[in-house]
Amino acid sequence: MRAMLAVARREFAAYFATPVATVFIVIFLVMSGTLTFTVGGFFARGQADLLPFFNFVPWLFLFLVPALTMRLWAEERRLGTVELLLTLPITAGQAVVGKFLAAWAFCAVALALTFPLVLTVNYLGEPDNGVILTGYLGCLMVAGAYLAVGAAISAMTRNQVIAFVLAVAGCFLFAAAGSTIVTEFLSTNLPWLAEVARSLSVAERFSGFARGVIAARDVIFFASFIAVWLLLNAAILEHRKAD
């Protein structure tokens, strides 16, 4: 546990050692704000909630989270530091979870910096702050799911660009699985798969959070989803270590 937290702390500090983190957060904030106000019509809607914001966050994360995870293992492998890391008295699993937690905390910081939106709706009207809270929790869950996918993919390759592209594609699969286009197509061609696709959809699971409800099955979904991908990540590392 302590070793895992040490890795997490070191990784988290490393994010802020270079301007990359700031650039990442700035892009996220500008994009989410712009989308919320322009495409989401936040002001024109006249409703005191953050629905336009929450509608975009999972899709923004689709690009930003892989950008965050692409160097997670690929970089270490390219530089050869992964061997060093794994010779330290920690297991691959601890290293995987530590790095994941650091990236997750980083996403939480990025989300927390959207606080002016919360202030804005509270100034404009009387929003349901419980719904806003669960919405943020849901965003964090989605970020965690994408991070786990991205990290596992990053461990497969030495090339950051390949890691990024594959992670975007992987996350997109889980984001779009529940969309009407996919389910409609599947329900006419492969009806049994339509249900599976819907139940695997990250966006569908997120929608409950965005409405203000934390359902046990959604939490279990995210937890098991993250766990499976982290396990895969550790397995890949173990396997590569033997290379």
């Binding site: 700031t22 500008v30 002001f43 959207t114 002016p116 669960t134 009407t180 397995a235």
Partner: protein, 639 residues
């Protein structure tokens, strides 16, 4: 070695994957209703009342939800609401332990599903000129094919979504029409003496009774009733004038046994006053009271006072001794706005209820009852001696003496609680020669669980002329209500006849949350604009009038000038001036209109800046400063 490791880790990941799938499948099955509802009004949690109804289902109920996805695509507000309805229906399924079945349909235009939706009583709404209809409703059926439907879900009724759905399920599980008993000396179902009085229209039942008959089996009870029949679920006791003790006891015991009561007493029944008494003369006593029962139940209803209310007072023709004129008759008034309890299902959606010489109610001190006002007078009200409105009331005099005291009076209230019988010594002695009917129920000294009743201190709510205009039109009766008295009474009966669970259903908060700040700005700007607009329009009209006069030549300058073609230089200058003024005024009006939106646009712009630019800018500056500091430290270390 490597192979075995690879095989092991592959197997490990596969096992974990299977485990995860299994856990999720189990969670979907077993934990579908385990959830934390953090919405302010617990929007996604079923109320205990609904759970009670669902758990009490003995036969399966099938709900068919028809929703055209096109509707949501075109009007997103409906899309969000449909999602909410579907979620709630799923909650019903989960809470009913398999007794409620849900089927979902998306009726394509001109399809069989569409025909089916129409056959089940759903309402198709055209989205465009093409004749394509969209559906958004639910139809329910039980094993014996009783059908009930909510033809179209209106987002405005969102507060009552759960109540509506639960009622639907409740009615399907209890399909027989409930019995509503009526006990009243008033000719509510038509006056048998109508022909004798040469007023055939009086033979017709009151519209309220006709509306009640649509949902209930209405059973008239004799004024000498000793027992209220067991099948009666709701009893309407209207104007119980000199109600015999035996009948009072019957009503008391009906309530003690859990019967639902709507009692209407009246300090002055206008309905009775306008109809001749048994002697053919106008009746002298028009008041009714039920003091013994109401006092025992914890309600005070002074029969000698009438509420006057200036807000919503009817304009009547005063006369005949005075000069005929329209006067506000403060004893007859409409209850609107905050006079109707918006939290109660029976009154929340009504626009107005009209009362005539109504009395007031209050809970007795120390009575352990829930006293929920349904109708309340405005603060511009006062009390007056009932005698003043009973005998030849003079609207002008009553108005002249009217002094509002700022107090609000309760005219109707719902009462709930454990009540004590008004007959603590058992049933009253029988008059000589009378016998007790068979199966006379055993005496109850207190209510069986919490009793539910509604007390209204006005019986004229029931009379047609106080809420509806009825006209004969080529043999057809056309009914044009101007108040909601009918719906009010039917709502009361509805909310009372449902199970206790139905009444306990609390109303839910709307999920519409407007930007109040923006609305405020808009309202203020609008008011300001109207004001300026009026001033400017007046100025514009004056200038235009002057210009017209100048063109035509102003009279008074002598006959020579009336048809003048040549105008003087001074006049030309004045015309020019007037024209300029008109143009300037128009410009100003446009500017004001523009300004109306300027504040809102400025707010929009500032909020955009705050949300899109402020934090990123701060972060960037911080990063640069930190970077510079770091570089300097590094340089210092090197040196």
């Amino acid at each position: 070695m490597r192979r075995t490791r690879l095989a092991f880790s592959t197997l490990g990941v596969l096992a974990a994957l299977l485990l995860a799938v299994g856990v999720n499948l189990l969670a979907d099955r077993l934990l579908s209703s385990a959830r934390l509802d953090l919405t302010e009004n617990r929007l996604y949690t079923l109320s205990p009342g609904t759970r009670q109804v669902l758990e009490g289902l003995r036969d399966p109920v099938t709900l068919r939800f028809f929703y055209s996805r096109r509707l949501g695509a075109e009007i997103p507000q409906y899309g969000a609401y449909a999602e909410r309805v579907r979620d709630m229906l799923r909650e019903y399924v989960a809470a009913s332990r398999g007794m409620v079945r849900l089927e979902l349909y998306d009726p394509e235009p001109f399809s069989e599903t569409e025909d089916r939706a129409i056959a089940l009583g759903l309402q198709g709404v055209p989205l465009d000129q093409g004749g394509e209809q969209v559906f958004f409703g639910v139809a329910g059926a039980n094993l014996v094919d009783t059908e009930r439907a909510i033809p179209f879900f209106q987002p405005e009724r969102e507060r009552f979504l759960e109540a509506d759905l639960t009622r639907l399920v409740f009615e399907l599980s209890n399909p027989t029409k409930p019995v509503l008993g009526v006990l009243s000396p008033l000719p509510l179902s038509g006056d048998p003496r109508a022909m004798m009085m040469r007023q055939p229209q009086l033979a017709q039942p009151q519209i309220v009774i006709r509306q009640l008959r649509e949902a209930y089996t209405v059973q008239e009870l004799g004024y000498d009733a000793q027992v209220i029949p067991a099948e009666v679920q709701v009893l309407l006791l209207a104007h119980p004038q000199n109600l015999p003790e035996a009948a009072q006891y019957a009503v008391d015991q009906f309530v003690m046994r859990g019967g639902r009561l709507i009692v209407m007493i009246d300090p002055h029944s206008e309905m009775q006053a306008t109809r001749p008494g048994p002697t053919g003369q106008p009746p002298t006593d028009t008041a009714s009271r039920l003091d013994r029962l109401l006092e025992a139940w914890g309600v005070e209803a002074p029969a000698d006072q009438v509420v006057l209310d200036l807000r919503g007072a009817w304009r009547v023709r005063a006369g005949p001794n005075e000069r005929v004129q329209a006067v506000d008759y403060v004893a007859w008034f409409n209850l609107q706005g905050d006079s109707l309890n918006r939290e109660e299902q029976s009154t929340a959606l009504l626009e107005q209820v009209s009362v005539a010489s109504a009395g007031h109610l209050r809970p007795r001190q120390g009575a352990g009852i829930e006293f929920i006002p349904l109708l309340t007078s405005s603060a511009q009200s006062m009390l007056v001696d009932a005698a003043q409105v009973r005998r030849e009331p003079s609207p002008t005099r009553i108005l002249a003496e009217f002094r509002a005291d700022g107090e609000r009076r309760v005219i109707a209230a719902r009462i709930r609680g454990n009540l004590l019988s008004a007959f603590q010594d058992g049933p009253p002695a029988l008059p000589e020669g009378a016998t007790r009917p068979e199966g006379f129920p055993t005496h109850l000294a207190r209510s069986n669980g919490p009793a539910n009743l509604v007390v209204i201190h006005d019986s004229d709510i029931l009379e047609d002329r106080f809420w509806v205009r009825v006209q004969e039109f080529f043999g057809q009766q056309s009914i044009a209500p101007f108040s909601n008295n009918g719906p009010f009474v039917v709502n009361l009966a509805d909310s009372l006849s449902g199970s206790d669970a139905m009444i306990g259903l609390r109303s839910r908060g709307e999920s519409q949350r407007p930007f109040e700040v923006v609305e405020d700005i808009r309202r203020r700007a609008d008011a300001q604009f109207r004001q300026t607009e009026r001033q400017l329009t007046e100025r514009l009209q004056a200038t235009e009038r002057r210009l017209r006069e100048l063109r035509q030549g102003t009279p008074g300058e002598g006959a020579r000038n009336t048809n003048q073609v040549v105008i003087t230089e001074a006049q030309r200058a004045e015309i020019e001036h007037a024209r300029e003024e008109i143009a300037a005024t128009r410009r100003q009006l446009r500017a004001v209109q523009l300004e109306l939106r300027r504040d809102i646009e400025a707010l929009d712009r500032n909020l955009r800046l705050l949300n899109i630019v402020a934090v990123p800018l701060l972060l960037t500056v911080l990063a640069i400063v930190l970077g510079l500091l770091r570089a300097r430290r590094r340089a210092a270390a090197r040196a």
